[in-house]
Symmetry: C2
DNA sequence: ACTAAAGTTCGACATATTTCGAATTGTAGT
DNA sequence: ACTACAATTCGAAATATGTCGAACTTTAGT
């Protein structure tokens, strides 16, 4: 835990985003607002696992695996709600990633 | 017109950044400027391939492979200058990546 | 032309990733 | 209790990746 460097942690995030299916899932969760606007915490977009996979043409087990990877990387939160499991992205995660690339 | 979607293109960038060695290389270059210019007044930063690998403890062939991956993903530019090959990151690449995550 | 330095390419090998189907778990409604 | 639905776990197979050393290329200096 203490020997888990910042570089490794961030590389883990990028690895989670390096698969086109996972990036599509993440993009879907990310794009809760129109460009130029910001989601407030209340307006966080939540999809259940099944909805997220719509149109991706992958098996449920594969979808589950990918979401788990996104979750393990700290990019996506998951929480059971009844029969479904809800997924969402914390705005702070996006802030942190944007800040990594922001220059000057 | 191309069958190379935006998602796939961006996933390719994140894949290039998903390896800790490559992310370390990119991070080093991120603070650099275009060739022939200076990052800041204090330290002149000119990274040839060999310098980039300093402290990473990987074979030259592995280093070369990683830089090639970063270049293929469109993240790093490379240009021969005498015996060395100079590497740098275009600011627009950082802008594009930051914009992807920035929701404000 | 010869040599050394800086990188690249190639071939090989070990490890990791992606994906699926089958079986399983958890939840809600009948 | 039974059934249907949502999602996960497991095991296996094909493919991709990371790494190295050896051989090669390109350039600068002698």
């Amino acid at each position: 835990m203490s020997n888990f460097s910042t570089i490794d942690h961030r590389a883990g995030m990028f690895k989670a985003l390096s698969n086109p299916h996972r990036l599509a899932l993440f993009s879907r969760l990310m794009s809760c607002c129109a460009p130029g606007t910001r989601c407030n915490a209340e307006k966080e977009v939540r999809f259940c696992v099944g909805e997220l996979g719509d149109g991706l043409d992958i098996a449920p087990s594969t979808l589950s695996h990918h979401l788990k990877e996104l979750n393990r990387a700290g990019l996506v939160n998951m929480e059971r709600r009844g029969k479904n499991i809800e997924c969402w992205v914390e705005p702070s995660v996006l802030d942190s990633l944007a800040a990594f690339f922001r220059q000057i």
